[in-house]
């Protein structure tokens, strides 16, 4: 199990290739350029296709074509580019085209900045595009998860015929960390629905999201909702660290969970009862464990690099606003370990404020 140092973005790209991804369509944008650049070098080596699209809009529609035709396909971008893909994402869900979409998020709104951010949580989990839809959303917590979750993402995308999003950020993408790479997988899942040319089939295949008559559209949506319900039941992932004996559970994902982890490890040395609940899937959200922890009397601190987005899902899970406190940093800056440490201290029983 050789460890190699890789940037998160490159680890993700190599992870995708090892998971059998052979089609990449994307458009340059900082801070995710390492992904297309890596793919440009690497895809020809494995007989895959790297194509730089003329825009994010075009890229997501190439993904729609490639995924609809049965290819294992990836696109990546960062916040403004992901906004441009919203129509396409809605189409992908509506037509049940599997694919993986990576958002290496940066600060917004608008042009914003190249600094890391977690302010695209709503967009990823509630649906930035139109219509009732859900993406399965993974939030890696380190470079190793960049590798592991992208592999999982392709499998899940195809199992559910639904796009899967990896929501990460500038820090996770730019940071180098040691990773262990899995072997190259050859995948050729059966996709009887894919448009390949009829090839003797009696009925042509169709990739489509049109329901001209209201009842047709309703039927499509009933089917989608049933699928989302299955995903919600089966796909929740999270990491719980020291939550059993904790008075306070800090909920954080991705980069902010790392800062929180640093703060908590200091606090633990000081014998404070603080735990970390790190959602790995942002949708479906780990509602149940949070509800259970709430029932067990814990209080919660949500730390995000945003004005407060995931905190809504925490409140919806805990169903008791009074138990939830929020600490956010606005796009552009990352909370320091000290800030988080201080905030937790202020919330602990012995911390004074209570």
């Amino acid at each position: 199990m050789e460890r190699v140092m890789m940037k998160g973005n490159e680890a993700l790209a190599e992870g995708a290739i090892r998971a059998g991804c052979r089609f990449f369509f994307g458009y340059p944008i900082t801070p995710q350029n390492e992904i297309p650049e890596y793919m440009a070098r690497r895809m020809p080596e494995v007989g895959g296709v790297f194509l730089q699209a003329e825009s994010e809009v075009s890229a997501i529609n190439m993904v729609y074509g490639a995924g609809g035709a049965g290819g294992r396909v990836l696109t990546s971008s960062s916040s403004p580019g992901i906004s441009l893909k919203q129509e396409g994402i809605s189409y992908l869900v509506g037509a049940q085209v599997p694919c993986v979409i990576v958002n290496v998020a940066r600060g917004g709104p608008g042009l914003g900045g190249l600094t890391p951010s977690q302010s695209d949580y709503f967009q990823a989990t509630k649906g930035g595009g139109h219509g009732d839809y859900r993406l399965l959303v993974y939030a890696p917590g380190n470079a190793q998860e960049m590798v592991d979750l992208i592999g999982l993402a392709f499998d899940k995308a195809e199992a559910y015929r639904n796009p899967v999003m990896i929501l990460t950020d500038a820090i996770m993408g730019q940071m180098m960390e040691p990773v262990v790479l899995p072997p190259l997988r050859e995948v050729s899942p059966d996709k009887p629905w894919a448009t390949t040319g009829k090839k003797g089939r009696s009925k042509p295949n169709l990739i489509n999201s049109l329901g001209i008559v209201g009842e047709d559209l309703e039927r499509i949506n009933v089917e989608l909702q049933a699928k989302f319900a299955r995903m919600a039941a089966d796909e929740v992932r999270y990491e719980a660290d020291g939550v059993e004996d904790a008075d306070l559970v800090v909920v954080a994902y991705g980069t902010s969970s790392r800062v929180v982890r640093s703060a908590i490890s200091r606090l633990r040395q000081e014998k404070k009862k603080v735990g970390l609940l790190r959602p790995v899937t942002l949708w479906p959200f780990p509602q149940q464990i949070l509800a259970e922890l709430a029932a067990a009397g814990k209080r919660f601190l949500v730390v995000e690099m945003s004005a407060g987005q995931m905190v809504e899902d925490v409140i919806l899970s805990v169903n008791d606003r009074a138990k939830v406190t929020f600490f956010g940093k606005l796009n552009g800056t990352v909370p320091t370990v000290k800030e988080v440490y201080d905030r937790i201290m202020s919330l602990l029983p012995e911390g004074g404020e209570e």
Partner: protein, 179 residues
């Protein structure tokens, strides 16, 4: 044991590389490590810096706000980061480009005339390695030999002929502070 290090300088001075070498060396010694660059428009012309964490524990935040080690290759970098260094920490700076000598309570400060020393070795471009060597001598963050192994992996093959030179620079810096 955790080392939290910032390497900073002008773009082109090779500060990103020495940061990566530190992280890579740490990994080769079985440590948990992270390397994180500052990037974006700053890269262009202006200053560049990166954070390195080397630890026995899984690394939390990869951003170093309060380093215990600072490598400063030029004046602006030293000015920007020196006050963040923790008590007990170490600053190694390139005295070829920095005139003012700072004094900070509880922080060990070491001036390395890196450009001159590099020139003595015949190549201006390895001043970063001289400073890194001195930093390793003072902090023992990783062994010089680990950095040498890391060089093999970090440098592209077409640059491997430069490894002996880099090695010499590292050792020169190291001996400067240890002998």
């Amino acid at each position: 044991m955790t080392h939290e290090i910032i390497c900073a300088g002008f773009g082109g001075q090779g500060v990103m590389l020495i940061g990566q070498l530190l992280a890579y060396g740490g990994m080769l010694e079985g440590k948990e490590v992270t390397w994180f660059p500052s990037y974006g428009p700053e890269m262009r012309g202006g200053t560049a810096n990166c954070s390195v964490v080397i630890s026995d524990q899984p690394v939390g935040s990869p951003i170093v706000a309060e380093p215990d080690g600072l490598i400063a290759m030029n004046g602006p970098s030293l000015t920007r980061f020196k006050t963040a260094v923790k008590p007990g920490g170490v600053i190694v700076y390139n005295s070829s480009l920095v005139t003012a000598v700072p004094a900070l309570p509880g922080v060990k400060i070491c001036a390395v005339p890196a450009n001159e020393l590099a020139r003595e070795l015949g190549n201006d471009k390895i001043s970063n390695m001289v400073v890194l060597g001195a930093f390793l001598g003072l902090t023992k963050a990783v062994a010089v030999s680990s950095i040498e192994t890391a060089l093999q992996q970090v440098l592209p093959a077409r640059r491997h002929h430069l490894i002996p030179l880099n090695s010499a620079a590292l050792r020169k810096g190291f001996s400067l502070v240890t002998e």
